[in-house]
Every structure is written in C-alpha cells, then in structure tokens.
C-alpha cells in the first residue's frame, strides 16, 4: 500500500468533486454554521457582560449543526466515487498500475473523509480559539482539550460517513442507487435500534452515532452512549472500506 497512491487518488477525486455544482453548493452550505456560530458567540459574550447567562455552548452546537451539512457533502462526494469507476470499467486500469485494492479504497475514503474532517475541525478550532479569547473563564488547557475533542469527534464522524457513502457507492454502478443504499444504511439501523431499545436506545446508524458521540464528548453526559456511538462510526467506516476493497479486488481483473 502506497501513501503516494492514496494521496493521488484522494486529491484527484476532491478536485473532480469540486467541479460539480452540487458539491460546490454543499461546500458553501458548510460555511454557514461556523459564521452563524461565531456571531452567536459574540452575542453570548455580550449577553454575559450584560448579566445574562445564555448557557449555550456554541462549540457543541456548531459541531451538532455542522454534522448535517458535512453528511450531505460526504454523500455528494462519496456516492459517485466507486460507482462511476465500475460503470466506466476502469478498475482494471488501476490494477495495471502498482495500485492494490486497499490503496484504491483508502484513496476514495480519504477523498470523503478529508473534506469532512477539515469542515469540522477548522471551524471547530477557530470557534474554540475565539471562545478562549472572548471568555475569560476558559484557559489554554481548556481550549487544547476542546481542540482534542473536536479532532476525535471529527475523525470518527468522517470515518463513519465515508464508510457509509463509499461502501454504498461500491455496491452499485449508479450514483443515485448508491445514494439510496446510503439512505438505507441510515434508516434501517436507526429503526432497528428503536425497535430494540425504544427512543433512548444505542445508536446503530452513523447519524445518531455522531450525535451521541458529540453529546458525550462536549456535554459529558451519557458517556456509555458516546462510546457506543464511536464504536458504531468505527464499524461503519470499517464495513464500508471492507465492502469496497472486496468489490474492487474482484473487479480489478481482465
């Protein structure tokens, strides 16, 4: 497995994705929550100075809100990735180069995960820094801890989302079908969880898992649910990669 190959594949896919209007739009949508949160943070600070405590953490809210647009972007980038290569019969073309099925899979996964991590981490850290600068009760250690939490949450979320989207893409030859498969990957496990545990059950789908992980990391509540959420995201990421590698391995042949 070569890091050079993985990077080359990821970079090319991101470049191609950013040429599409839908992805450009989703990217712009992803910039809205950080801007809004920055404004809210300033309002929050002003309210405190006026003697009101809004008890509302903009960092947690940012990540909770940002999870939605990031998921949409992951779907926009990830669902056509493998389906297009399968439809165009270019998987054997990769096999004629020093590219393994796992290099290919990780390259595609990185193409989804990297923008997702960037769109969660960069605004998250900026808000954390802004919060430290504006609110006196936050010290450097607090801010570093927050940045670490942002990084952990973003990595798990990006890995889980990319697993769902790239794995769905490997299952079909059409992006729209991949989108449908990805939707099922969110809907079915969510429904199963509700049937087994009711409304307060453990998260089996990547969407709920991200919510539980964020709540556990930033609110400090329901740690057990957060751990299950992190595990769930890790499993979705691994499952997606495994499905993709297995499919690609089979089709990387003349």
């Amino acid at each position: 497995m070569s890091a050079h190959v993985i990077t080359a594949i990821a970079r090319r896919e991101i470049t191609i994705a950013l040429r599409r209007r839908l992805v450009k739009l989703l990217f712009l949508i992803n910039l809205v929550p950080p801007i809004v949160m920055a404004v809210i943070l300033i309002v929050n600070m002003a309210a405190r100075q006026a003697g009101f405590d809004l008890e509302w953490d903009p960092l947690l809210r940012l990540l909770q809100i940002q999870a939605g647009p990031v998921l949409l972007l992951a779907l926009g980038i990830g669902t056509p990735l493998v389906a297009r290569d399968r439809r165009e019969d270019v998987l054997f073309l990769y096999a004629t180069r020093p590219v393994t099925a796992w290099s290919y899979t990780l390259g595609k996964t990185m193409a989804v995960a990297f923008p997702a991590v960037a769109l969660l981490v960069v605004p998250g850290i900026l808000i954390a820094i802004l919060r430290q600068g504006l609110m006196e009760e936050f010290g450097l250690i607090d801010s570093l801890m927050l940045c670490g939490k942002v990084l952990v949450a973003s990595t798990f979320m990006a890995w889980g989302y990319s697993g769902v989207t790239v794995g769905s893409s490997a299952a079909t030859k059409k992006a729209r079908w991949a989108l449908f498969v990805a939707f099922l990957c969110f809907a079915i496990p969510g429904a199963v969880s509700k049937i087994i545990w009711g409304n307060d059950g453990y998260a089996l789908d990547a969407g709920r898992a991200a919510e539980d992980l964020l709540a556990a990391l930033f609110d400090g509540d329901f740690v057990r649910y957060g751990v299950v959420g992190a595990l769930s995201l890790a499993v979705w990421g691994g499952l997606g990669a495994f499905v993709t590698a297995a499919r690609v391995q089979r089709e990387m042949r003349p």
Binding site: V5, A8, D89, F92, A95, T96, R97, P98, T100, P254
Partner: protein, 312 residues
C-alpha cells in the same frame, strides 16, 4: 535487446472453475511480441497473469526477470499497459487522465503533468487534450490510452487490441506510432486477433488456441517452416493437367487458366510434376512456393494444435 524478457513455464490457470490456460510454456525475447489468438483463446487472461493480477494454479511466470505474483507491483511499475476493455480515467480532461496515470505509477504531481504533456505531444494530440475525456472520439481515446501507458517511461509496453474500433486511416497511423515506439527500443507485447497488425509490428508471436500454445517463436519461422503450396504457371497447365496431377496424389488447391496451385505430399518430391509436364508437353514458365500470409500460417498452426486442448 534479444535477452528473454518473458518466461512462462508450464502455466495452468483456472477462472471460476473453468480451465482457461493449460500447459503454457514459452520464452519470449523479441522487441515486439504478438500475443495472437481468436477471441476467448486466453489472451487477456495471460496478460492478467503477466501483470500478477491473476494468480496461476501451477507453473511460473517471470517478466523482466521478476517472479510473479510476488513481484507484481514491481512489474506493474515498470510496465505500461493499454487495456482493451478499460477506458480512460473518467471525470477530467485528457491531460488530467494521463497525468493521473503517471502519479499512480509513482511520479510526483509536477513530474506527471510534465510527462503527460510530453507523451501527448509525441502522439500528436493537440489542444484536444484539454477537453473532457467523455467527449473523445475512439481515435482520441486510443491515443489517450496509449499516452497513459507511456507517461512513466515504462521498460515494456503491453497493448491489448490497440487498433480495435479505429478507422483504416487511424489504424495505420496508430500502428506507425507503435512501430516507432518499438524502433526507439521499447519492448512491446501486442495482444491482437488482427494478423496484419501482428505482421506489421512483431518479430515473434505467441499463438494461443483454446488456452494452449499453438506456436511460439519468430513470425518468419512460422511462415517459412510450413510446407505451403506450390504454384506453377505456363502453357498447358489446364484442368486436365490438374486432374492428372491429382492422380499422382498431389492435392490441387486451385486451377485457373494457365495457373495451377497444388500441395505436394512431400516438399522435395516435385519430379512427378516435371514428368507429367514432359509427357503432356506443357511449357512451365514459373514454379515456386507460394509465400503464405501470416494469417494462413496461423490458421494452419491452429488447426494443427487442435485436439486434446482445453474446452471453452
């Protein structure tokens, strides 16, 4: 240049429970080798095995003295492959696709882009290189595929049906391009079922028939070693002469006016022909072996190889 660069030793390969290659043994050393056979003969499968993509059941393969499949990545890094069934990397322009192919072979981004332009220049691809690949004509697509296989300066080129889908003018131009590459010193393996292409490009051929080797060696030897037909022309070589010749045991292939083509039982025994010509007062102006085309020689070799081969 004449060192052996492909060694295949008693290779047997099955796919999906079906035996596709059986007992393939060959040592190939020509500058350009034709991998020839009918559709379904096992050409693409053998290419897959030569790249280490398909694992053999038994036997061994060495390419550039590298053992497969253990050294498959090394072989793929040193080979440029133009695959018939695979297209061009989708989603970008021609030059993007060629540069990406270079990056997958280990070139840096800048180097890949520079070499992509150089490869496309060498193949006479102009401003079209900046157009999206989905709008390419077959000819442009083939050039782009060839550029993708050349971008990293490979030691060997493996071309699978390179002229399929091209019009006659495009085909000639493309064959000339490949021959230029051969003359520059690259070692080339061309898989084709078009004998004219193999004849034009190759020194040696590996002829596959139903998954087995029907012939392996130089094209000249294949064309020359077969008995072939004898052609005679002159006065008196009419239908009656042909009939009489047939009674001597010669098989008559064609009789047309004053020209007769026949296959003697023994290449060296033509005295009966001369005897008959003397008896009937025929005036023979020309007698010689008809040089067969590669296509005829291949068909003959395939017929000889049939029987006891792999089922398809």
């Amino acid at each position: 240049m004449n060192e052996t660069w492909i060694r295949i030793d008693n290779v047997r390969l099955s796919r999906g429970g079906r035996l596709v290659l059986e007992g393939i043994t060959s040592e190939l050393s020509g500058r350009a080798i034709g991998l020839v056979g009918a559709n379904g003969a096992g050409k693409s499968t053998l290419i897959g095995a030569l790249l280490g993509v398909l694992k053999v059941d038994s036997g061994s393969i060495r390419v550039l003295d590298l053992e497969l499949p253990h050294m498959a990545m090394e072989v793929r890094a040193r080979a440029g492959v133009m695959a018939e069934q695979a297209g061009v990397f989708p989603g970008g322009s021609g030059v993007d696709a060629v540069a990406f192919a270079g990056m997958l072979s280990g070139l840096s981004r800048r180097e890949a882009l520079r070499k992509a332009h150089r490869a496309l220049d060498a193949l006479d691809v102009g401003e079209e290189r900046y157009r999206p690949v989905r709008g390419f004509s077959t000819g442009m697509r083939q050039r782009c595929k060839l550029a993708m296989s050349l971008v990293h300066d490979p030691e060997i080129l493996i071309l699978d049906e390179p002229t399929v889908g091209l019009d006659p003018a495009g085909r000639t131009q493309f064959l000339n391009l490949i021959r230029d590459l051969r003359d520059e010193g690259r070692r080339i393996l061309v898989s084709t079922h078009i004998m004219q292409d193999a004849d034009f490009l190759c020194d040696d051929i590996l002829l596959l028939e139903s998954g087995s080797v029907a012939y392996s060696g130089s094209i000249n030897a294949l064309v020359d070693t077969d008995v072939g037909m004898v052609v005679a022309s002159g006065e008196g070589l009419d239908a009656a002469f042909a009939e009489a010749l047939g009674q001597y045991g010669y098989s008559i292939r064609n009789q047309d006016g004053e020209r007769i083509a026949f296959e003697p039982n023994d290449d060296r025994e033509l005295h009966r022909f001369w005897q008959l010509a003397a008896e009937r007062g025929a005036e023979v102006r020309l007698l010689g072996r008809e040089l067969r085309s590669l296509e005829d020689a291949v068909v003959h070799a395939m017929k000889k190889a049939r029987g006891g081969t792999v089922e398809h």
